[in-house]
Each structure stands twice: as C-alpha cells, then as structure tokens.
C-alpha cells in the first residue's frame, strides 16, 4: 500500500479503495508468471492478466470479488513498476540521444512527458467508463468495482508494454 501511494504521487494513480484485508495475503500472487510470459513472447499484451488469473484460481475462491480485487491489484502493481522503470529509463535514453545529437529542439523528453500525462487522463476516463458499464449490472456493486481493478491492470499493462518496446528501440540508437 505504501508502494501504491508512492506511485500515486509519481503517476497519479487513482486512489481506489483497496478492500481491507487481514495481514495475511488472501491468495498467492506469482509475478514469475508474467515475467516468464514476457520472456517467451517479448513485450506482449497477451501477458496481461495471466498472473492475476492464476492468483484467483490459487485462492480456491475463484469469483470472490475481494480475492479478485486483491489479485488484480497485485498485477497492477507489477505493471506499474514496469511502467515506472521503463518511463524513467526511456527519459534517460532520450536525454542522452538529444545531448549526443546536440538537437534540443527535438523535444523528445517533453513529448514523452506530455504523452504520459495524457495517458493518465485516458486511463482514468476509460476505467470510469468501464465502471459505468457495470453499475447496476447483474453482479451488483461487488463486481462493478472489480471492473475498475481489471481496467487498471489492463490499461497499465498496455502502457508498460508500449514503453518497454520504445525503450528497447531507443537503446539501439
């Protein structure tokens, strides 16, 4: 949770009310699942959701909204950390490339920053829309908030993967 709050400062993560859990984790989350998928497929959106899904199954209570939220937020944290480090590394690379080229007019670090700011606004609006689609749905309030967790994970994973691909390219310049 402290980690999540720290990221909120850096990336404006919406402060969704994380359900209160006992000190003990309600299931087992294995980031290795996401890592080994990325090792096999490279940065690929197909890898999003695998680890959270395995986590929900491992709990023995698949379909329990609180377990789902916990597992999904674990994977969101995983992608969020990837996103943060790819963003920061990419910023360093872009600065290096500009310095080497002596072309500060290219504005690549600035445009990366602007993109990331716009992504945050998009992610929040998208998850709000997905939430609206579940409001009053058959699953009731429990499942509607699960959709926000799922949306956060999906959107964060997509952007982390995008930045990761751009980083690999930038490092080759």
């Amino acid at each position: 949770m402290i980690k999540l709050l720290k990221q909120s400062v850096a990336f404006g993560m919406l402060a969704f009310s994380t359900p209160a859990f006992a000190d003990e984790a309600p299931s087992q989350f294995l980031p290795e699942i996401a890592k080994s998928c990325s090792n096999t497929l490279g940065p690929n959106t197909q890898c999003i959701g695998m680890a959270a899904n395995a986590c929900m199954h491992a709990s023995g209570n698949f379909g329990d909204p609180n377990i789902a939220k916990w597992c999904l937020s674990q994977e969101t944290d995983y992608w969020d950390a990837k996103l943060n480090s790819a963003y920061q590394d990419l910023m360093v690379e872009l600065q290096r490339i500009e310095d080497e080229a002596g072309q500060t007019m290219l504005q690549t670090p600035e445009s990366l920053r602007a993109m990331q700011r716009n992504w945050i606004a998009y992610r929040d609006a998208r998850c709000e829309f997905e939430y609206a689609q579940y409001t009053n749905g058959s699953g009731g309030a429990g499942s509607s908030t699960v959709s926000i967790y799922e949306c956060q994970m999906q959107a964060t994973g997509e952007q982390a993967i995008y930045l990761d691909k751009r980083l690999s390219q930038a490092m080759m310049w």
Partner: protein, 170 residues
C-alpha cells in the same frame, strides 16, 4: 483527388505535405480498403493493420517512395478512422439506451454516455500526444511523416476493436 488525412492533426498533415515531392499525384494512388477489410472479416483483428496500405504501395507506381508510403498509409488511416467513428456511434447509441432505461427505472447511475464521451475525448489527446512523441523521435527526418501516420492508424485500430468489443478490456 483522394482525400488525405481527414482527421489527422495539423502536425501530421504538415509532416506529409513537407515531403510532397510532386513525383506522384494524388490521383495516381491505387488504393482499396479490400485487403484490410477481408482480413478483418476473417477475424484477424489487429493483424490486419497495414494490409491495404501495403497493397497500395505494391500497386502504385512509386508507391515505395516516402511520399508514396505516406499517401497509401493515409488512405488506410481514413478507413480505420471511419471504422472508429461507426464503432463509437453504435456504442454511444447503446449507452444512451442504457442511460434512458436506468432513468426510467429511477436509478441514479453513472451515465454510460457521458463516461464514454469523456473517455473518447481523453483518448484523442492521448493518441495525438503519443503520435507527436513518435514523430519527434525522427527529429524532422523524412521517416517522421510515415511514423506518425503509422501511429495514428495503429492506435485508431486498437481503439476501434476496443469499442467494438463493448469497451471492456481486451
């Protein structure tokens, strides 16, 4: 003259026009939506991006010049843009229907229509800034034009498929 870059940003248009070496008149583009459309009909989704543009480059004389590529890619960008508009309109119609039903039943729920509109608005800014970022990577080089059109097309295709799936995750 084929309409190029209907909805592209000025920066995209400017980037293409700057390259407009008049070796190839707009009227000379041999382009059809068929290749991308038939790929979509086979359910191949995002894999279909670029099929019509590629065919256009093959069929158009000078299609592999920077200007030829830019023109062919722009024509396919228009195709995706109109796909996106129809997907958006049809999801908006559903959203409004849902909102009306909820209001009739006396539920005060978050409006699907309003949140859909907000999402689409923020998506446009996100797309524009991502494509401006990709353009900036070329530092004014001739690859910048095609790169920003490719970005526009890729993002528009992704958003189209997202909206077609009802706007729910993947």
């Amino acid at each position: 003259m084929r309409r190029l870059c209907r909805t592209h940003d000025l920066i995209l248009i400017a980037s293409i026009m700057a390259l407009a070496v008049p070796a190839l008149a707009d009227a000379d583009f041999v382009y059809s939506d068929a290749a991308t459309q038939s790929c979509l009909d086979d359910g191949k989704g995002l894999e279909c991006v670029g099929h019509s543009a590629e065919k256009c480059m093959e069929d158009t004389e000078g299609g592999y010049s920077t200007y030829g590529m830019g023109g062919c890619m722009s024509l396919e960008a228009d195709f995706w843009d109109s796909k996106l508009n129809s997907a958006y309109q049809s999801l908006m119609a559903q959203a409004k229907e849902f909102d009306a039903m909820a209001a009739e039943d006396g539920f005060t729920v978050l409006s699907q229509a309003d949140t859909l509109r907000d999402m689409q608005r923020t998506w446009i800014s996100f797309r524009d800034s991502r494509c401006a970022y990709e353009y900036s990577l070329w530092g004014g080089g001739t690859g910048g034009g095609p790169a920003s059109i490719a970005c526009f097309t890729q993002m528009t295709a992704e958003q189209t498929l997202y909206l077609q799936s009802g706007g729910l995750g993947n």
